[in-house]
Symmetry: C2
Subunit: 223 residues, 2 copies
């Protein structure tokens, strides 16, 4: 295991226990967050479109490549961007699962709850299809792994996944609200034991048990 | 478990065993595949850009929303599109993991090998970051789950994931080729036991053991 360090998280002890506390970054209505939301809308439309209509997808490719080229000319140095990504206190805005500025993020919204658990909510669009009209099992794995990680932070000490076991009980439908409940159940030295369940309409669809090891990789820092 | 049916897959028995056989849909150089590739390029540029440059991200949001609106006016009926998605023999072009026409797909490329195993390859861009400069553990879970599923098809009988256990041994770096090797190890009635390993530079990073149940949900069909 690589050398790890510990960071401050938004913990229940810091946040108080009066009610649900938002743990993920809320989306701004303008700037990069708005562009990421528009990109998600575009992705959804493209998957729904298919190649069977008369729509000019060659021209769409040209227009998207032109946009990409325009942005590529403005990119900051990669090391500078990485430092920026990781400098913020609280939730990362670039995050793959919850990040409002990442077009690939669903995004999942996570609250810390007074009972020491966390709850994530999302609705999955058709791009995440596995079986017909159902979510891919692997996207449930991604969302659950992330929510378990946030449950550790809420409990006071975060870590990295060492072992994750998922039991798939019933398919997860697309287009309907999913809820992921997760809680750190016990700690043994650096070992964090964390469980969770993904439910739809109160019915458990996927359950998870995980072992995390406390600590994180060092964050990028400026020279 | 919902009612399931069985489908023909690309199996080793059908494909012969002379060498690696491509199991995933190759990307067309035009049409929707080209647009999806351009969308991936755009997503990558947006994540690399951040909100710290002078680039006009408000205007970008407007332009992407205008594109999405234009496509939304051309969408086929959802049921028609679903039938189209699932009508093809062979690999699904819309697939979340391997699909050339899905902008959210990495995409992973999978070959069936003469020894009865399958091998998936990909390189993960920065949108899939978990720890700094490393892939999110959950994206490894998604790619591995999918590759295990394809290993079942290659062995002759596909199914749906019932239990998946992942052991994370070392972080998976972004921007470098990853390889996922997977094989169906045994069958007991409808139970399929399938193992896999995600490696980088020949070093195992994530290992997986899974139980699948043979069969799939029914495909959408025209009235």
């Amino acid at each position: 295991m690589a050398e790890t360090v510990e960071y401050e998280n938004l913990t229940q002890a810091d946040a108080g226990t009066d009610g649900p506390v938002l743990m993920t970054a809320p989306a701004n209505e303008d700037g990069l967050d708005a562009a990421a939301a528009a990109a998600r809308r575009l992705i959804d439309a493209m998957v729904r479109l298919g190649d069977g209509t008369g729509y000019d997808t060659d021209a769409l490719a040209d227009r998207l490549n032109a946009l990409a080229k325009e942005i590529e000319a403005e990119l900051p140095d990669e090391d500078v961007r990485l430092v920026e990504m990781w400098q913020h206190e609280g939730p990362n805005r670039h995050d793959l699962v919850t990040g409002p500025e990442n077009p690939v993020a669903v995004p999942l919204v996570v609250h810390g709850l007074p009972d020491g658990s966390v709850e994530g909510t999302a609705t999955l669009p058709i791009a995440y299809q596995g079986q017909p009209r159902m979510a891919h099992g692997g996207i449930s794995a991604l969302l659950i792994d992330h929510t378990l990680g946030m449950a550790n932070g809420w409990a006071g000490r975060g870590g990295m996944t060492a072992r994750l076991t998922l039991n798939f009980k019933r398919p997860v439908p697309l287009g309907r609200p999913i809820t992921i409940n997760a809680k750190q159940e016990s700690v043994d030295g650096r070992k964090l034991f964390t469980n969770g369940t993904l439910s739809v309409d109160g019915e458990p669809c996927v359950t998870a048990e995980a072992l995390f090891i406390a600590g994180h990789l060092p964050r990028p820092t400026a020279e």
